[in-house]
């Protein structure tokens, strides 16, 4: 339990401290990261907002954010709570709630996203084999650059 919460916390702090380069290392080599919306999930529609399969694709996302994509300076603050855990032999399943507050350089602060993390964590490596970010809302303000 403590280990899982610690993984979630380290993940959140890495993103909030702009250590994007550390982000792929929270996943196993073939780890999957997918941002979805609750609406599409409920309708059984597969469309992701972001979809990465493996650390290579995760690193490509970071490279692109650092060197290709243009977006205004901004930070997130993740609040992760209500962690449920279901332990298995090979992997641990975790469901948690998140709020992400977005802070722009001029101080403008908004509730940017809320939702659930649905995780499958490798018991051996204590890394995400799969992290599905299900956003409660179908709306995204301006753009979603930094991962959730």
């Amino acid at each position: 339990m403590k280990e899982v919460e610690n993984l979630h916390a380290r993940y959140a702090h890495a993103l909030d401290e702009d250590r994007l380069e550390d982000w792929p290392n929270f996943f196993t080599e073939r780890g999957i990261y997918r941002i979805a919306t609750a609406e599409n999930e409920a309708r059984g529609l597969p469309l992701p907002v972001v979809y990465c399969e493996g650390r290579k694709m995760l690193r490509d996302r970071v490279q692109s954010l650092r060197h290709a994509n243009i977006y205004e300076p901004q930070r997130y603050r993740h609040i992760v709570s209500s962690v449920l855990i279901e332990e298995g032999k090979e992997f641990i399943k975790s469901t948690s709630s998140f709020l992400v507050v977005r802070i722009m350089e001029n101080g403008e602060t908004m509730l940017f996203a809320s939702g659930r993390y649905l995780d499958r964590i490798s018991a051996k490596e204590m890394l995400y084999e799969e992290r599905v970010v299900v956003c409660d809302s179908r709306r995204f303000d301006t753009l979603l650059a930094i991962p959730l």
Binding site: L47, P48, G54, M57, Q63, A68, F140, L144
Partner: protein, 407 residues
């Protein structure tokens, strides 16, 4: 009537008040969105079943799009004739009829008022006079055209047919993509901090694509040196631009020292996402098509989507994205489309910047309603051509807009 003066340079200038003035915004609702234009409503696949419906918007107007029991498609204003409440509050569903929750007035799938609750009162008491005409405030009904899987509507009796409205320059480019029954992959909304026309303007701006969207250029997905072209309808209202799949080996960007030039250090570790199958058979890698006032269809490699521009006030716009494939897609093609979903939308490698750039204009011009933007790339004309280093389609937008607005 609006009283405004356009800069004397004409087609090469767009004054900034067009993005700022409340009275201009209100007049646009009447003259453009309720006027002789066709607006995108939904995909036919979203209302595949008899008695299914979706709710959407045409300009600020809430709209119900439905399929009746016999299979015909209708669209009507989502406003009860009685007190103006929404008739239908769900995003989508199935219904035998629509009942306003406020006082239970009911409507059929075409938006005709079927029943007024207790119209004749009870036991001779209460109710409406036989002379009452609640139908006089009935929700407006649209003329609807389902075209190759897309549903469009107009409130105007004077609008030409949909095909005539789009015109011979752009219609074949629309048909080019919509070759088979469609299947919805999902949807989301991007909220843009700017006037709706700034997004339309951005879509029609073939000059910006490879300069703003660095991802495009770094990976040589789209450069202005690659073979491509632009089609603009005669009235300027609609456009289509395309790029061929041929790899660009030139170094025009590097020579000009542009931000978007390739850096040797930057290469995708896993480029599977970029693999394209030439499913439309004409070696086009990107086609962006826009129909005035608020519809965009994209084909970016194998990513296909309808983008609907929904104005939400003078400086706020919602972009409703619906990504789709074809009903007969195999597993590999669906996987390809989902991987390429990374390219588009609010987190898209090549489209996330649009929301930021248009927002920057809205903020940049805040104190300059008497100034104008300079739109002189490719001269001052509106027309088709084989260069994309032009703002011809942007001038087209303003030509059409001014004609509707009588400005």
């Amino acid at each position: 009537m609006l009283e405004r003066s356009w800069p004397s340079e004409g087609a090469t200038r767009v004054p900034y008040w067009v993005y700022q003035d409340e009275d201009v915004y209100a007049e646009e609702q009447r003259r453009i969105f309720h006027g002789p234009t066709w607006s995108y409503l939904c995909l036919e696949a979203e209302i595949a079943e008899p008695q299914s419906f979706v709710t959407t918007f045409v300009g600020e107007m809430p709209v119900v799009v439905s399929r009746d029991a016999a299979g015909s498609i209708h669209a009507f204003e989502n406003r009860c004739a009685h007190r103006g409440a929404l008739i239908c509050m769900q995003a989508r569903g199935k219904a035998e009829r629509f009942s306003c929750i406020y006082h239970n007035w009911t409507y059929d799938h075409a938006g005709n008022l079927l029943n007024v609750a207790f119209r004749k009162g009870i036991a001779g008491k209460g109710g409406m006079s036989p002379e009452a005409k609640p139908e006089s405030q009935a929700p407006k009904q649209f003329r609807v055209r389902a075209f190759q899987g897309l549903v469009f509507g107009t409130l105007s009796k004077d609008a030409p047919s949909f095909e005539e409205y789009v015109g011979p320059e752009v219609l074949p480019r629309l048909k080019r993509v919509l070759i088979k029954p469609l299947k919805v992959l999902g949807c989301y909304t991007q909220v843009l901090p700017n006037n709706w026309k700034l997004y339309m303007d951005n879509v029609k701006d073939t000059y910006h694509a490879s300069l703003l969207h660095v991802f495009f250029t770094r990976f040589r997905i789209n450069r202005l040196t690659q073979e491509g072209g632009v089609f603009v309808s005669k009235d300027g209202a609609h456009h289509c631009t395309y790029t061929k799949m041929v790899e660009d080996k030139g170094d025009a960007y590097e020579k000009d020292g542009m931000r978007s030039a390739s850096s040797h250090a930057f290469k995708l570790e896993d480029p599977e996402m970029l693999n394209q199958v030439d499913e439309l058979g004409d070696a086009v890698s990107i086609q962006i098509l826009s129909l005035f006032p608020g519809f965009v269809l994209h084909q970016i490699r194998n990513s296909l989507a309808a983008r609907q521009i929904v104005p939400k006030g003078v400086d706020r716009t919602e972009l409703h994205w619906t990504l789709f494939g074809f009903a007969d897609d195999d597993e590999a093609m669906t996987r390809r489309r989902l991987l390429q979903a990374n390219l588009v939308g609010p987190a898209g490698y090549i489209s996330m910047e649009d929301g930021a750039a248009t927002g920057f204009v809205q903020r940049g011009v805040a104190a300059s309603r008497d100034r104008a933007s300079v739109i002189e790339m490719g001269g001052d004309k509106v027309g088709s051509g084989d260069s994309r280093i032009t703002e011809t389609a942007v001038r087209g937008l303003w030509k059409a807009w001014r004609s509707h607005m009588d400005l």
